[in-house]
C-alpha cells in the first residue's frame, strides 16, 4: 500500500503548489489544488485537533466557501492506544480496565459488554442481584454521560451556563459511582461473573437524594437550553439525517432513534436485567439536531425511572458468581452488545482456551455516528458543522480505541 496518505496533508499550507504530485490523496482530491489556500476563494481549515469544539482530539478538514462547508473529512486516530491489541495480552479479569479507557464517559457499559461476551463463552450464570446492580450502575452512568453531552452541546451552540448546571448533577452521580466502585470514571466494576462490590448503604442514601432532585433539575435543563428560542433556531432542521442514511451508515442508539427507527438493544436483545424493567424508548422521526437533543433528554428521564425501579426492587443474594480466579474460557467465540449512551456497543470475543483473549473486536458506535455526520456536513455553515458534530455525541476515546 502506498503509505503517503499517512502524511497526506504535510504540504497543504506551504506556498509551493504540489502540482507535480502524481499520487493525489483522497482528501485533497476534493480540495483546490496548486494554490495557496489563503489566496483562493475557498479556504481549507483544520478544525482540530486543538479546536475547542471537537470534543477531544478529533480533526476535521473543512473546505469552506465563505462560511459554507463544501467538503469535510475527519481525521481520527490521535487517541489510538491499541485497546483491541492490548486486550490480547490481559487476563479476562483485567480487560475491564482497558474497556473503561475506551469510551471514558460511560465506562460501565464498556465493561459490561466485555463481561457479557466472556460470560457467553464460559456459560456463566450471573446471580440476579448482580444483574440488577449492573443495570443500576449502567443507568446511573448513562445519565452522567448524557449530562456531559448536554453540557458540551450547549457549549457548541455558544451557551455557557448549562454546562456547569450539568456538571453539578453529574457530580452527584460520580459521587454515587465512586462510593460503589471506588472510582469516578475508570470503574473496573463489572467483571465476568458479576460485579466487584455490593452497593453500600451510603450509596443508597445518595441515590435517594439524587432521585429527589433530578426531576426538577431535568426540567430546569429543558427550560435553560431546550426551551431557549435561540437554541431552537440553531438546532431545528439542522443536520437532518434521514432514516435511509442512518441505516446505511450503521447508526445506532439515540442518533438512530432520532431518525425514526426504534431500535434499542435493551428492548430488542435484552441483557442483564433489562427484561424485568419497565421503560419506554424515546423516539422522533425528524432526524435533525433538535430531535437528537429531545431523544437524549427523554432517555435521561427513562434512565431515572429505571434507577428508581432498581433501587426499590433490588433482589437479595450474591453479587458475584462462583468463578475461578483465573478465567480460562473454552475455545469459542461470542458477540455481546449493550446499549451504551452512544448506541450499540459490541464486543466480539474469540477465545483459544488460554487465559487471555485470542482476539477482541470492539464496535464503537460513535465511529459510525462520526461518519454519518461527516457525510451530511457539506452544504452546512461552519457554525452548523460544530453543532452537528456535537449533536451526534462522539467520544474520541471510543472512536480511536
Amino acid at each position: 500500500m502506498d503509505p503517503r496518505h499517512l502524511v497526506e496533508h504535510a504540504g497543504w499550507l506551504t506556498d509551493t503548489p504540489p502540482t507535480d504530485v502524481g499520487f493525489v490523496p483522497a482528501s485533497l482530491r476534493r480540495a483546490p489544488m496548486g494554490v495557496d489556500a489563503l489566496d483562493t476563494e475557498r479556504l481549507i481549515v483544520n478544525m482540530g485537533p486543538q479546536h475547542p469544539s471537537t470534543h477531544g482530539v478529533l480533526r476535521v478538514l473543512l473546505e469552506l466557501d465563505g462560511e459554507e462547508v463544501v467538503a469535510a473529512e475527519s481525521v481520527i486516530g490521535y487517541l489510538h492506544r491499541g485497546i483491541e491489541k492490548l486486550a490480547e495480552h490481559r487476563r479476562y479479569n483485567a480487560v475491564g480496565t482497558l474497556m473503561d479507557r475506551g469510551d471514558y464517559v460511560s465506562g460501565i457499559h464498556n465493561e459490561l459488554a466485555f463481561a457479557l461476551a466472556a460470560e457467553a463463552i464460559m456459560e456463566i450464570e450471573v446471580p440476579r442481584r448482580a444483574q440488577w446492580l449492573r443495570v443500576l450502575m449502567a443507568e446511573l452512568n448513562r445519565i452522567a454521560s448524557h449530562l456531559v453531552w448536554y453540557g458540551t452541546f450547549g457549549l457548541d451552540t455558544g451557551a455557557m451556563g448549562q454546562f456547569l448546571y450539568a456538571v453539578r448533577d453529574r457530580e452527584a452521580l460520580l459521587d454515587i459511582l465512586e462510593d460503589v466502585t471506588g472510582q469516578r470514571m475508570m470503574f473496573n466494576y463489572v467483571r465476568p461473573g458479576g460485579v466487584v462490590a455490593d452497593i453500600t448503604p451510603t450509596a443508597v442514601e445518595k441515590i435517594h437524594a439524587f432521585l429527589s432532585t433530578i426531576d426538577t433539575h431535568l426540567d430546569e435543563h429543558d427550560q435553560l437550553l431546550g426551551g431557549n428560542e435561540i437554541f431552537q433556531g440553531r438546532v431545528r432542521g439542522v443536520g437532518t439525517i434521514d432514516l435511509e442514511t442512518a441505516i446505511a451508515f450503521g447508526l445506532t442508539g439515540a442518533n438512530l432513534r432520532a431518525s425514526g427507527l426504534g431500535f434499542d438493544v435493551r428492548k430488542d436483545r435484552p441483557y442483564a436485567a433489562y427484561d424485568e424493567m419497565d421503560f419506554a424508548v424515546p423516539m422522533s422521526s425528524d432526524g435533525d439536531c433538535l430531535a437528537r437533543y429531545l431523544v437524549r433528554m427523554g432517555e435521561m428521564r427513562e434512565a431515572v425511572r429505571i434507577v428508581r425501579q432498581c433501587i426499590e426492587g433490588l433482589p437479595e443474594g450474591e453479587f458475584m458468581a462462583k468463578v475461578p480466579k483465573v478465567l480460562r474460557p473454552p475455545v469459542g467465540e461470542a458477540y455481546a452488545a449493550v446499549e451504551s449512551p452512544r448506541g450499540e456497543l459490541g464486543v466480539h470475543l474469540v477465545s483459544d482456551g488460554s487465559d487471555t483473549p485470542y482476539r477482541m473486536r470492539y464496535r464503537p458506535p460513535a465511529l459510525y455516528a462520526l461518519q454519518a455526520a461527516e457525510a451530511i456536513l457539506p452544504g452546512t455553515l461552519l457554525a452548523d458543522a460544530v453543532v452537528i458534530l456535537g449533536s451526534v455525541d462522539v467520544v474520541l476515546g471510543e472512536i480511536d480505541r
Binding site: A37, L43, G66, T157, G158, A159, I230, F231, L382
Partner: protein, 333 residues
C-alpha cells in the same frame, strides 16, 4: 491653568477611568458569571478574590509575546492600538454629570458612534494581519456584522434625539430632567438599541467575531500577552461605553426622579451615572452567561429584515408624535 494642561488632565482622567473600569469589570464579570453558573468565581487572592484581576494583568504584562511567522508585522502590531484608541476616545463625550464631561460636544452622540465604528477597522486589521484562517473568518464576520448593526443602532438612538432636539449628550440628559426618562416614550427604540448594542459590543448572543466554539478565538487567536490584553480591555471598554450611552439616552443619565438637580450636578451625579451604567452592564453579563449564540446568517437577517425596518417605522411614529403631539394634546412639549 493653561488649556493644554486641562486637556492633558482630562485625557489622563479618561485613560485612568478606562483602565479602572477594565479592572473592575473583569472582576465583576467573573463574579457575576460565577454565581450564575453555580460556582464562586475567584476567591483566593485578596478579600473575595478582588486582586485576581491585578494578578492577571501582571501575568499578561510579563508573559512572553511571540510573533507568529508570516504575519503582516506592521498591521499585526498596529491592530491592538487601532482597536484600543477609539474605545478610549469614545469616553470623551460621555456626560458623567452636568459638570464632569471631558468634551462637551454638540454632536456628542454622532461623535461616539463614529469613533466606535473605527474599532471594527482594528478588528479587521487584527484578523487580516494574523495569517490565520480562523482570524480571517472572524475578521470577515466582524465587517458583515458592522454593516448590519451600525444603521439600526443609529436609528434606534434617534427617537430620544428627536424628543430632546439635540445631539449633545448632556442636553439629552437635561431634557429628561424633570420629565420622564426616555425609556417610557421610546420603549421600542430602547429594545432595538439594546439588541443592536449587543451586536456592537460583540456580546453573547452576538459575539460573532470571537465565537470561541466555532472560530477558536476569532480575530484574537494569534494574539498573546499585552497585545491580547489591549484587545480584551477595549472590549470591556466598549461594553461600558455602550451601557453609558444607554443610560444617557434612555435612563436619564446622572439624574434621579424626585431628587433636585442641585444635588446631582457634580460628583454626586457621576456616582449615580456610574451605578446606573454598572446595572446595565450587569444585565448584559446576565445575558452573556445564559444565552446561546445565534448563527451568522440569523444575525444578518435579524439586522436587515427586522431591526432596520422596525427602527425606521418607530422613527416615523416618534416624528409624528413630536410634531403633532403638542397640537393634539395642547402645548405640552
Amino acid at each position: 491653568m493653561s488649556p493644554v494642561l486641562i486637556a492633558t488632565l482630562r485625557v489622563l482622567a479618561a485613560v485612568g477611568l478606562m483602565l479602572l473600569n477594565g479592572v473592575v469589570l473583569i472582576y465583576m464579570l467573573r463574579k457575576v458569571l460565577g454565581h450564575l453558573h453555580v460556582r464562586l468565581g475567584p476567591t483566593e487572592l485578596g478579600p473575595a478574590g478582588m486582586f485576581q484581576t491585578l494578578a492577571d494583568v501582571v501575568k499578561l504584562l510579563t508573559k512572553e509575546d511571540p510573533t507568529p511567522g508570516m504575519v503582516d508585522r506592521v498591521l499585526y502590531f498596529l491592530a491592538p492600538l487601532i482597536v484600543f484608541v477609539p474605545s478610549l476616545a469614545a469616553y470623551a463625550a460621555l456626560p458623567f454629570s452636568s459638570s464632569i464631561i471631558a468634551a462637551d460636544l454638540d454632536a456628542g452622540l454622532l461623535f461616539t458612534f463614529a469613533i466606535l465604528s473605527l474599532v471594527t477597522l482594528g478588528i479587521f486589521a487584527a484578523g487580516w494581519a494574523s495569517y490565520n484562517k480562523w482570524s480571517l473568518l472572524g475578521a470577515m464576520r466582524s465587517i458583515a456584522q458592522q454593516v448590519t448593526y451600525e444603521v439600526p443602532l443609529l436609528l434606534a438612538a434617534l427617537p430620544p434625539v428627536m424628543i430632546a432636539g439635540s445631539m449633545n449628550l448632556a442636553d439629552i440628559v437635561r431634557a429628561q430632567q424633570g420629565s420622564v426618562w426616555f425609556i417610557v416614550p421610546c420603549f421600542p427604540a430602547f429594545l432595538f438599541f439594546l439588541v443592536a448594542g449587543l451586536i456592537e459590543a460583540n456580546q453573547t448572543p452576538f459575539d460573532m467575531s470571537e465565537a470561541e466554539s466555532e472560530l477558536v478565538a476569532g480575530f484574537a487567536t494569534e494574539y498573546a500577552s499585552m497585545k491580547f490584553g489591549l484587545l480584551f480591555l477595549s472590549e470591556f471598554s466598549n461594553t461600558f461605553v455602550f451601557s453609558a450611552l444607554m443610560v444617557t439616552l434612555f435612563f436619564g443619565g446622572w439624574t434621579l426622579p424626585f431628587v433636585p438637580d442641585a444635588l446631582l450636578s457634580g460628583v454626586g451625579g457621576a456616582v449615580v451615572f456610574m451605578i446606573k451604567t454598572y446595572l446595565v452592564i450587569a444585565v448584559l453579563m446576565w445575558v452573556r452567561g445564559t444565552l446561546p449564540r445565534v448563527r451568522i446568517d440569523q444575525l444578518l437577517s435579524l439586522g436587515w429584515k427586522v431591526l432596520l425596518p422596525a427602527t425606521l417605522v418607530w422613527i416615523v411614529i416618534t416624528g409624528l408624535a413630536v410634531k403633532l403631539g403638542p397640537a393634539l394634546i395642547g402645548g405640552v412639549s
